[in-house]
Amino acid sequence: MSESLLEVEGLSVEFVSKSHSTLAVRDVNFSMAAGSSLALVGESGSGKSVTALALLGLVSTRNGRISGSVRFQGRDVLRLPPRQLRELRGAEIAMIFQDPLSSLNPVMSVGQQIAEVVRAHERVSRGAAKARARELLTLVRIPGAERRFGDFPHQFSGGMRQRVMIAAALACRPKLLIADEPTTALDVTVQAQILDLLRDLRTEFDMATLLITHDLAVVSEFSERIAVMYAGRIVETASTRDLLDAPGHPYTRGLLASTPQIESELGLRLTPIPGTPVQLLKAPTTCPFVTRCDQVLDRCREQEPPPFGPREIRCWLHEEGS
């Protein structure tokens, strides 16, 4: 594990339209080792999904402006020729999405949708691809995989659909799995099943997993490390335990305080983060959290903080104490 699997440096994504542009991701840096797990948490619109899509070179070229570098096993994903990029997707880096119904093609059978990944990346016969798809369906614990191969997504329950998505993602044994809110649309009991499954598969396949969510509780059971995103930036990165025990950035703290917890005492009043989530249309001249923060310093209003310390906390409070 000397060489890291994924190395993201200075990744920025801007969406331009006629009237304005949105700074969705700004100067994001992180890295992942093979087999490791990282969670990206943050509120809606903070840029988690866009970061994930950028890793696969899937940010729309029509209105998306992307910069920085994404090195996957030493190759710069953002500068790969289209053909190689296509070969990378699904084979080396796979991705699953939040809503398994709309993310599966409604008019293709689930078996087809798994088999086609195999066929897209390996020179195998149709039959072999099908056989593989069946194995995968069994692997993700779809009861009666053989029978249900030809069924369509709408005939599956939410949890099963998500399993199908996972099966398709695992088809070529990727080195990295990106799971963008894989359980948000699911019931609690099913969510638990899917998270268990992902955890098992991670160890079984030795596959690095980037989990994207806004639910701290979910990541606490799943990832080794957490990166907290706010307004397009990673504002804090730490191991899960450390972060939960001692959140550094005021936003992380606020997030934790406003997350309802099943272990908390009954009727405990939550402390919400005041204000509403921000979306940056131009580079800020202050800390983007300044309007919602309860520990504002003068510096906060003057300049956006750089990352401080080993946790790379972007907060002036952490300026001296690294």
Partner: protein, 335 residues
């Protein structure tokens, strides 16, 4: 749950959906709510929890009178389907529940105008008060929904509901669509409003963690039925029904010690309401059913909601835990 001071009383509420069409098979009928009875007293909150499709929203809609049902629903002495009963609903989707072409002032004023006893000026004044009450600026009443964030819209929706001076407020997943930080704001707002106005609240959700913050009582719903009803403290601490137990254990937790023995995973998928098993509906996914040797009674008889001697208000519908052997604790049986 005492019946004294109950402002919402439901007795054997049942909602059946029959698809229309020339070739309707009986099998296509959906019993979305299957004989639910409960009461909520003023100032108290009943949380209804359960998985997707178990009938929570349908129950909520029946309560507020926009869904045909059989059985009895009484809201503060109003029975049957009167047009204006003091019961209001807050929806899940803050984007869909406000008319995009009407100012929020218009939307908030609707229940006030429907009462028909306020002048125009009074109505405007009341709208302003309501907006302030939910933490918005009274001057915002001339704005349109698209100018607001999801959390603010949900505040508007709450203001609208409060405008009817409800005796009961039903919240159908009112916080599910919101970011955690905003969700906390709304939960707090609801708690405060309830303190101030004293209405009873039925809080429908699948998020058990939120339930902890605001519920006095919890009802666990499965396939249209209540499987367990009881004071929140008791249900959380000692769930009597195996389903409640599994539900609780499935909730991810942030605490360092992951209580391994409490990780009870339900097998199988949420059930299909078109295709309900005989006897106890929960049987196919039930751990106790298997562990206790697949008792005949679970296959043949649907269990009723029963209390225990120790805890009169804590009811559960399980043949095994409240069987002839006397009510035992779930965890006991589980070990």
């Amino acid at each position: 749950m005492t019946s004294t001071g109950a402002v919402l009383r439901c007795a054997d509420v049942r909602v059946v959906f029959t698809p229309r069409g020339l070739a309707t098979a009986r099998a296509d009928r959906i019993v979305a709510v299957d004989g639910v009875s409960f009461e909520v007293a003023a100032g108290r909150t009943l949380a209804v929890v359960g998985e997707s499709g178990c009938g929570k929203s349908t129950l909520a809609r029946a309560l507020v009178g926009v869904q045909r049902y059989t059985g009895d629903i009484t809201v503060a002495q109003h029975r049957g389907a009167e047009r204006r009963r003091p019961i209001q609903l807050v929806f899940q989707d803050p984007y869909a529940s406000l008319d995009p072409r009407r100012t929020i002032g218009f939307s908030v004023s609707e229940p006030i105008r429907a009462q028909g006893r306020h002048s125009r000026a009074e109505t405007a004044k009341r709208v302003g008060e309501l907006l302030e009450l939910v933490g918005l600026d009274a001057r915002m009443s001339a704005r349109y929904p698209h100018e607001f964030s999801g959390g603010q819209r949900q505040r508007v929706a709450i203001a609208r509901a409060l405008g009817a001076d409800p005796a009961v407020l039903v919240c159908d997943e009112a916080t599910s669509a919101l970011d955690v930080s905003v969700q906390a704001q709304i939960v707090n707002l609801l708690i405060d409003a309830q303190r101030a106005q004293g209405f009873a609240m039925v809080f429908v959700t699948h998020n058990l963690a939120v339930v902890r913050q605001l519920a006095d009582d919890v009802a666990v719903m499965y396939l249209g039925r209540f499987l367990e009803v009881g004071p929140a403290a008791q249900v959380f601490a000692q769930p009597r029904h195996p389903y409640s137990e599994a539900l609780l254990s499935a909730v991810p937790r942030t605490s360092a010690i992951v209580d391994e023995h409490r990780q009870i995973r339900l097998v199988g998928d949420p059930p299909d309401p078109r295709n309900r098993p005989d006897g106890c509906h929960f049987r196919p996914r039930c751990r106790l059913y298997q562990q206790s040797g697949e008792p005949e009674v679970c296959r043949t008889r649907s269990p009723g909601l029963l209390a225990t001697r120790q805890q009169e208000a804590h009811l559960a519908a399980c043949h095994v835990t409240s069987g002839p052997a006397g009510p035992g604790s779930v965890s006991g049986t589980a070990q």
